[in-house]
Symmetry: C2
Subunit: 357 residues, 2 copies
């Protein structure tokens, strides 16, 4: 019936040892290619292992070795393109390093985030990668991760007050370049639809926007700079309001493609032509941006690379550091470049189409 077990148990190194009349320790050494075992026995053991369909028990191994070969990621929503791409990149890195990846989602809830952290600490994961929920303003739960000697790596939505590794996009530069591009295209009254103030990435994008505006010597009405606009709905209502203003904007830079889509809808419904009368640049390069009409200019965050690099911060820096027991001397902050993808929604002058920065 079942060829894999003896007495319905998994095959262990003891079974192999018994069959070959060896000691379990020798079997372990042979399977792990350790130095002080002869090649003859290694071959013998390995072929017998295959014959008996032996499966290495990671729980036993991890218990003995004191690590779990498992890292975890906590994201607000798995099914948002940016995060699912990030996760795809992390999975790729884990696969290459033969580690397991556990995922948790917080649904933007602070309470769920705390629970996820608790569970993962019990789970003995070696490293937690996290992008904070919108509700998260305190960091005791993150400190708890560190206190339990689990490596903490924050990405994208990070809290800078904590001494942890962080991986974020070059948000300020990206925003600066996006706005500069709008200016180059002849737009002069550029509005900014931003995010919540407590998350650094959104503040950085705002700074980039302001820098470009300042550099171009443009004066912007106070109400052109709006915060907490993250969804299509809020983007639409916000654009609607601004476009009814006595001095309406002629361009929008938004920190999300969803809010950019809202702007586009509002512009359409009010009869403004995009890009002739209104220019729009979004953020994240969601997959819908090149499908809609007009296609939407956006900042690509290299999300898959960001995810892979984030996981590799653990593998390359922290893991090695742990082994060497060396002290902390590595770069703590990692930056991922963005690419501005210029499409129809901001191309008033028909010229080039795609610039890397």
């Amino acid at each position: 019936m079942n060829v894999n077990r003896k007495n319905n148990r998994r095959v262990t190194i003891y079974d192999i040892a018994k069959e070959l009349d060896l000691a379990p320790s020798s079997v372990s050494k042979a399977l792990n290619d350790m130095p002080n075992i002869s090649d003859k026995i290694k071959l013998l053991v390995k072929s017998k292992a295959k014959e008996l369909n032996y499966k290495h028990n990671l729980n036993a191994s991890n218990l003995r070795k004191g690590s779990s070969s498992t890292i975890a990621v906590i994201v607000p929503k798995i099914n948002v393109a940016f995060f699912s791409n990030v996760i795809a990149g992390m999975e790729e890195a884990c696969f290459e390093k033969n580690h397991r990846l556990i995922i948790c989602q917080t649904d933007e809830s602070f309470t769920k985030e705390i629970q996820a952290v608790e569970t993962l600490i019990h789970q003995n994961v070696d490293c937690i990668l996290i992008s904070l929920s919108l509700e998260t303003k305190s960091t005791e739960h993150l400190q708890e991760i560190i206190n339990n000697q689990i490596e903490l790596i924050q990405f994208d939505r990070v809290n800078d007050s904590l001494d942890s590794y962080t991986i974020v996009n070059e948000n300020k530069d990206a925003a600066y370049n996006a706005v500069k591009h709008l200016i180059d295209q002849g737009y002069k009254k550029i509005a900014f639809l931003g995010g919540p103030d407590h998350l650094k990435i959104y503040m950085d994008r705002k700074e980039g926007y302001l820098k470009a505006i300042k550099e171009a010597n443009i004066t912007i009405p106070y109400n052109y700079v709006v915060k907490d606009v993250l969804t299509t709905e809020s983007g639409m209502s916000c654009a609607n309001e601004l476009l009814h203003f006595h001095e309406p904007p002629d361009a929008f830079f938004t920190i999300s493609d969803y809010s950019a889509l809202g702007v586009l809808k509002a512009a359409n419904s009010l009869g403004f032509k995009v890009p002739q009368e209104i220019g729009i640049v979004g953020f994240s390069n969601e997959s819908f941006t090149e499908i809609i009409t007009p296609t939407l200019s956006s900042v690509d965050q290299n999300s898959r690379k960001l995810g892979k690099d984030a996981a590799n911060v653990y593998f390359n820096h922290l893991l090695k550091q742990k082994e060497r027991k060396g002290s902390d001397g590595k770069i703590k902050k990692h930056i991922i470049k963005c690419s501005l993808i210029i499409r129809d929604s901001s191309s008033r002058k028909k010229s080039f189409r795609k610039i890397k920065l």
Copy 2:
């Protein structure tokens, strides 16, 4: 420095036992609320555990108990809306049941699928949920899962030759209803862009299409039924070809929204008006379908519910069965209903807009 450890080790039940002058076994029982320990000691142990910041070691526990409270999911691509929604649903179920979810992606590669299965067996996961890669045609690796007494649940892209739990959409009915809708809208020459023949879900959709065609007494040219059209590119070139045919179709039903998008692009570039001259219905209700112009009619697969239900098959049926050691008497095949979302791309007669089926 670090309040959580003694000698830089994690706090164990032995530490608690020593501090309270108890036996480790009693500590374990207290922490697990087992019956034969007094409430007084339970309280004592629990408060001491909190005081020392004790963290349960799951590797040790799992090794002893032989299970891991962890289930795994293998998908072709994490960053495809359908799969990321499925995973979101699974994560939700796992969170409710206090289980961990490990994810692996195969990138549609058979080799990576086999490796993922291997790793997960080693990892001692309790259950593997899998949606097969496009390359997967044999099932020995799935049999291996069963042989190792790990529960196997297939979803969406399933192989029926195996005796496992499966969760799929009502694909045949959904396709039937979609095509019937096209017929109701007055389309008569309906083409079908399908998937590979070895995956049942695609064959089911084809059957639903054929059933509707047959029922309406329509004759279809042989080349209207195409297989292996899964991407935007192939959808576009395929539609291009068919629309140049001496007797071109007036509608397309596709098994993917991406290929439907390709059809739309081809129709646009050839000057066909959608939906007046060409009707289109896609499959999966990807998020871009309601953003593009015209909006794309599609079959919604209830992906998040599918994921949650799939995980709950394990929790409700298998887990309980295991505990009772009862025999196998449960429903093996689960069906998730689809909803036809009627949008502009197939609405020639302006009537109703959304039907549930």
